[in-house]
């Protein structure tokens, strides 16, 4: 029992970090060094616990073969209220991220922003347009002619900048990106070899 409890904790921590992406039982099994069947049993137990525990705000759901943590339905009202009680910082991390990307990389398309964040940025973009911090700065030539976004005068004003050149440099970031690229290329190599073995190509 005690052993199982620790396993539940381990799995909870993994699911928590995986967030929206969720985890397949095979992945969990690989990490906890167990079988898929055992991982699934533990996941079932975990779900039962969440459902039975009144003090749990989250529960476990399986969508498309992947398990993820979600908030319980009965708290939807509270979550809606969160929108009406924004953080004292008044801008969410998501909006700030998108704004930072646009400020430093402008003009930039939504696809580029999505790629960089690894998540869709539609909502934050709308918020930022509504706040008057960003605007369309034309369109990219080429397929689809996607909108290019840039910052506004209001952005400069509210952030106390004389001009966009007044942004502090992000030199360190560039270095980090380079490292990431190297890492990615290693991964890529692995995946490529793997795919060749499988004799297929991802489409």
């Amino acid at each position: 029992m005690n052993e199982d409890e620790v396993m539940h904790g381990r799995i909870e921590s993994l699911l928590f970090v995986a967030g929206d992406d969720g985890l397949a039982p095979e992945q969990i099994a690989a990490i906890i060094d167990s079988t898929k069947a055992n991982a699934e049993t533990l996941l079932d137990q975990l779900q039962e616990r969440y459902e039975n525990r009144q003090d749990a705000g989250i529960t476990l759901r399986k969508y498309g073969g992947r398990y993820r943590l979600v908030t319980k339905g009965e708290f939807a009202g509270d979550i809606t209220k969160m929108l009406e009680n924004p953080s004292p910082k008044s801008m969410t991390q998501a909006s700030m991220e998108v704004l930072a990307i646009i400020a430093y990389k402008q003009p930039v398309t939504r696809v580029e922003i999505d790629d960089l964040r690894g998540v869709k940025s539609e909502g934050p973009l709308q918020t930022l347009v509504a706040k008057g911090f960003i605007m369309e700065k034309g369109r990219l030539e080429g397929s689809g002619r996607p909108i290019l976004y840039g910052t506004t005068e209001l952005f400069l004003d509210r952030f106390g900048l004389e001009s966009i050149d007044g942004l502090p440099p992000l030199t360190e970031v560039e270095e980090g990106e380079q490292e990431d690229t190297d890492l990615f290329m290693t991964k890529f190599q692995e995946a490529f070899n793997m795919q060749e073995d499988e004799g297929g190509i991802i489409d």
Binding site: V17, D20, I202
Partner: protein, 249 residues
């Protein structure tokens, strides 16, 4: 080589001095100036050979050391029955300011180590990205009046980068399959156009997850096959450069 690295690790003249004091097992409150000065100068002499960038700062402190040393050699007051050593305990010790500086620096050097420990402790606790609340409704957003902060922007950006690090593919079996080769080919052409017709190979592979990168690469291969783009290199081991082929605009 190992010696060189060891020298480079000094964070400045005060750091070097602290190191010497410790190595020579000197009482910091009663520093033998002659010995320390000699050792110090010997060290920066070695560093001069290594063309240390901050040599001038090391030299400034060397001058200070020599000055203190000479002050101590001067008889301050000739009072009968007191030897030189005792004399300094009553008069202002020329070393006092240096010791105070060293102690002050040491305090922060230790605080830096403590901070590093806190950061290490914090680093083992992982968190998750905020949920996307857009399907719960729009955030009503009139332009805020308050002054916002550029540094919050940087903070947000850094958090994102950290998260991106965390988003390295869980296992190679994940296929998101969001982009087709055809779409990605268009993207590559778009990037090339934006960059004025030429870009480095790496610039096509900066973002995205593993699947994206694989698709990007396959797209690039396809574009090369169609002669839409050329991939070339000035010399061995240099960056690959991509540019439009004859057909490209």
């Amino acid at each position: 080589m190992a010696y060189k690295v060891k020298l480079e690790v000094f964070e400045g003249p005060l750091d070097l001095l602290l190191h010497l004091i410790n190595r020579l097992e000197i009482d910091i409150y009663d520093i033998p100036m002659a010995e320390l000065t000699n050792q110090y100068i010997e060290h920066i002499h070695t560093m001069r050979v290594l063309q240390l960038d901050e040599l001038s700062e090391y030299l400034v402190l060397a001058a200070t050391l020599i000055e203190i040393k000479s002050k101590m050699l001067l008889p301050v007051h000739e009072e009968d029955g007191l030897d030189e050593h005792q004399d300094f305990e009553y008069e202002e010790d020329p070393r006092e300011e240096l010791v105070a500086r060293l102690m002050e620096y040491k305090k922060y050097k230790e605080a830096a180590n403590q901070l590093k420990e806190s950061a290490d402790e914090r680093a083992i606790h992982f968190t998750k990205m905020p949920e996307d609340l857009s399907h719960y409704g729009e955030v009503a957003a009139p332009p805020p009046d308050e002054q916002l902060n550029v540094f919050d922007l940087i903070g947000a950006f850094q958090k994102m980068l950290q998260r991106k690090r965390l988003r390295v593919p869980l296992t190679a079996s994940i296929t998101k399959a969001e982009l087709s080769v055809d779409e990605k080919m268009d993207d590559i052409v778009a990037i090339l156009k934006k960059k004025g017709g030429t870009c480095y190979f790496d610039e096509l592979f900066v973002e995205g997850d593993l699947t994206d990168l694989v698709v990007s690469f396959l797209s690039l291969l396809e574009l090369m096959k169609r002669m839409d783009v050329l991939v070339w290199q000035n010399e061995n081991f240099q960056q690959l450069t991509i540019s439009f082929g004859q057909e490209g605009s």
